[in-house]
Amino acid sequence: MSEEFKIEIVNPEKSFLVKEDVSEVVVPAFEGEMGILKDHISIISFLKPGIIKVSSKSGDENYYVEDGIVEFKNNNLSILTSSIYNLSDMDKSVQQDLLKKAKEEAGKLDINDQTKYLVDQKIEVLKTLN
């Protein structure tokens, strides 16, 4: 029996990625990285900035996300996100841009703890990319 399931990543503009033959996905869930295999229990969670790793027969793919929601049900994984980038064709300048924006945000005084946490996370991830 195959150990594959379906993944669908959508952003507001379009379906970003649809794949039927995924064997494992690692998502940066809010409370830590989460690996999803076939027949995972139904789950809803949301994402913090980080890397989504999609493993399939055709090789691994990495995506950088800033936020989003994951829903897993009946071996269908849906990821809703408003900002996603494919790492293999992500420009250095785009990364720099995002990093700059994140740093600006972190410098603001009137942000609450949660956003602070998310922004710090973002900066950290972006730094490791460079």
Partner: protein
């Protein structure tokens, strides 16, 4: 009767107007295809979002402590209406239809002695509403610079709305936009986004989900995003509707101009013929009198 010269000028001017409307129709048709495509591509996101929220809210046991964005403030006094129109005219009844729908809603609210606040998105709506409801408009947002509807703009509007909600400035929020059905039919819509109306859409499964972190936290994170998503959906539908409406309006205008040119040409030929006949009669009767 107008002189030959006048008629000639009028024919020329109608023809050049026709050229413009024809060009606008072509442009609208091209843009329509794009707008329609992106409206269709955007649908899965908002549908999925809706599904997740439905699943979540059915999982919430303690309805009273549910986030306010979902359950509302418990009051129904101040209504915020977000009227979404286009930034450009010459698109038939597109803007007026939204405004008409909004106005009837406004008067209903005012009749019930409730407070009304208006946010207009797009300058055409603002132009039409500020004459009567000028004092009620608290904000006017326009995205003239951005060519296509994009999520970033929608998010901006969403953030403004949430900010105002959290400041306790209103209880109920409704958005007005045109839903794209096909090129000739656009249906003006009023959609309540705060508190969320789960219009009996009870297809959520009984299957229990695991939540990480708990439901409340996910919901309070998700609901603001849902607002932006709904607004983005409205923007996409709107832009497709705008182009569709413009296309059919310009198609009509081109046809009317064609009819007018035909009529004017007949009149022109007739009066030219009349002038020639008159001249001939004059010559003949002049010759006879000799």
């Amino acid at each position: 009767m107008a002189s030959l010269d006048d008629l000639k000028k009028r024919i020329a001017s109608v023809k050049s107007t026709q050229k413009i409307t024809k060009a606008m129709k072509m442009v609208a048709a091209a843009k329509l295809r794009k707008a329609q495509e992106s409206a269709e591509k955007g649908r899965p996101y908002s549908e999925k979002m809706n599904n997740v929220i439905l699943n979540l809210s059915s999982g919430i046991s303690d309805k009273e402590n549910a986030p306010k964005l979902l359950a509302g403030t418990g009051q129904d006094k101040v209504h915020l209406c977000v009227v979404m129109t286009s930034d450009r005219g010459l698109c038939g009844g597109f803007n007026s239809n939204i405004i008409k729908k909004a106005k009837s809603y406004f008067s209903k609210i005012l009749d019930e002695n409730k407070e009304l606040k208006i946010i207009t998105v797009g300058s055409k709506g603002n132009d039409q509403l500020k004459r009567i409801y000028g004092d009620k408009i608290i904000e006017n947002i326009s995205f003239k610079e951005s060519k296509n509807a994009n999520y970033f703009d929608a998010d901006k509007v969403g953030k403004i709305i949430i900010e105002k909600f959290e400041a306790g400035e209103f209880d109920v929020c409704t958005i007005f936009y045109n839903k794209f059905k096909n090129v000739i039919t656009q249906i003006p819509q009023a959609q309540q986004i705060i508190p969320l109306n789960d219009e009996g859409n009870e297809n959520s499964s009984d299957e229990s989900y695991e939540f990480e972190p708990d439901e409340d936290e996910i919901l309070s994170n998700l609901l603001p995003k849902n607002i932006s998503t709904q607004i983005f959906k409205a923007m996409l539908e709107n832009s497709a509707s705008e182009q569709g409406s413009r296309m059919s309006a310009m198609d009509n205008a081109t046809r009317n101009a064609g009819e007018m040119v035909d009529k004017l040409t007949i009149e022109y030929n007739r009066s030219r013929q009349a002038a020639i006949t008159k001249e001939l009669i004059e010559i003949i009767s002049g010759a006879e009198s000799l």
